[in-house]
Amino acid sequence: MQGFIDSLLATTTTGLSRELAYLGGMIGFGALVVFGFILPMAGITSWLERRVWAKIQSRVGPNRVGPGGFLQWLADGLKNLLKEDVIPEAADPTLFRLAPYIVVAGFVAAFVAIPFAGSLIIADLNIGILYISAVTSLVVVGILMAGWSSNNRWSMLGGIRSASQIISYEIPAGLSVFPVVLLSGTLSMQGIIENQGWAPVDWHMFHSPFTLAAFLMSYIALLAEGNRTPFDLPEAESELVAGFATEYSGMRSLLFFLAEWGNLYVIGAIMATLFMGGWQVPAFTDNVVLLTVAQFGMFFAKTYFWVFVAMWIRATLPRVRVDQLMSLCWKYMVPIAMVNMFGTALVMVVIPEGSRLMSYALCGLMLFGLVRFGRRVNYHLKRSRRYDTVGAIMPV
């Protein structure tokens, strides 16, 4: 994108005025991206989540505002903006006000390095994935601030839970990135994607069994970092009321949720980029615009697949307990992630070119699993349809 702005500014003068124009351009473009893309997308994710849940729970979900309730997120957002912003008397007002912004800043900043398409990336940082994990750690600080400044013990427990959880799961998440970095030899998001192909066999996740394991570890760890079920302990509404967000209302409370839904997208994007070939599409045309659109669509689809899986998991699984969460991380995930790292390195030393046969075998295995799963789903669907038709009684 820098290049794009550079070309826009090519006609203006040099010196200070040009730099200021550059600054303005960047800020303007950033605002455009944040308000035109990131926030609406987080909102739409919220609508999608509610619709997906509703489908799973055999109910309708939001269906009043817009077609299929599509604009529900806008209505909710507006409503929350207009609500009274209550700050508890006993709270620490400065930090209480600041915390949601820090959380949102943490997740918005991650979008800088997310590659939406071959040429659609705000900045292709050469420390891409490292940058993303670095800035998302801001979220923890925000949550801790929120938890402490609310001056409520439930909030504080939520904040502490969140901090310990995110800190712990950053380790398996980071270690699961290593195999990919080893394979591609770069931290840059575009570099990682370019190292893969459009076909599933060329994806990092099918490189070796270790990367496949790393891929699964990565998704679990990212779910935990994003405070998603079954790891949503920091805001566990049935235990801690709403955890760190208990005292928040209106707009500020909305910002926390926005960050959560936005984070979902970041999780999906990381999964798509690192393991699933990102925006890679078969080269079917020379038209750059068409190609970019196709790439964007591909990336979007892959990302939303993982977003959907996260929603599905949330609608299905109960929540784990704190000690179970920690033992899962330290006793299982960290050692497995370590093994993955060394295993990948070993595979790279033994078969430097990578084994197509292994990739095809892993691909086939995955396909087999998917088919089995599909048949099982089909069986259950049929069975539930049976009882839906058997005994439907007329309402009085």
Binding site: N126, L130, A134, I167
Partner: protein, 210 residues
């Protein structure tokens, strides 16, 4: 005097942020505010690293210091005595010794800086990623110190585990794992203690003939 440009302004902004944060750490009376000022300072330093073309170091700075050290600090601070009350302050005590020590340190550093020779690379030369260089240095030239450091870290890890695991002695004198027991008092029952399982099994037998 350099020509004023955006990068210069950004540099001063970052440097100012660092100093401001550092000042905040020292002068705020609220310990949580201090910790959060530290975050500002860390971000300033990360920005300075970027000016030095050390983007990897900048990333690691944020990841390790903000994501790790700072959060742990906050964590520890929040677990301290009566932190649940918002009005916590750390009273400034011992201003005079602090001034003496800091002043002395400042003098030493200033002296060293005055005497030092700085090597500067020609401007305008932007190197590619520093990650590659760092990796090469760590794993080729400095592999021994690198490995030694990891051994030390491992020792620290083990030490932390040993220190934090308190051994609990059951009433009958045998040590028991911590999570699983709480001293039993009259009428109290405890989850998943081995004794409870035994009691449950015994009682199961007793009831089966009811």
């Amino acid at each position: 005097m350099e020509e004023f440009s955006l990068s210069v302004a950004a540099f001063y902004f970052m440097a100012g942020l660092t100093l401001l944060g550092a000042g905040g750490v020292v002068f705020t009376e609220n310990i949580v505010y201090s910790a959060l000022s530290l975050m500002v300072s860390f971000f300033g330093v990360a920005g300075l690293y970027i000016f030095l073309n050390a983007d990897f170091v900048a990333g690691v700075q944020v990841l390790v210091y903000v994501g790790g050290v700072l959060v742990l600090t906050l964590f520890a601070v929040m677990l301290t005595h009566q932190i649940a009350e918002i009005e916590v302050s750390n009273k400034s005590v011992g201003r005079v010794p602090a001034l003496l020590i800091c002043g002395g340190l400042f003098l030493v550093i200033a002296k060293a800086l005055r005497g030092a020779e700085f090597f500067t690379t020609p401007g305008g030369q932007v190197s590619e990623s520093s990650t590659y260089g760092i990796g090469n240095l760590l794993l080729r030239e400095y592999i021994l110190p690198f490995e030694l450091a990891s051994v030390v870290l491992l020792a620290v890890l083990v030490g932390a585990v040993v220190l934090s695991r308190k051994e609990v002695i059951a009433p009958d004198g045998t040590p028991v794992p911590e999570r699983e027991t709480i001293p039993l008092t009259e009428g109290q029952r405890v989850m998943s203690s081995p004794r409870a399982a035994l009691a449950g099994a015994a009682a199961k037998q007793k009831v089966s003939d009811v």
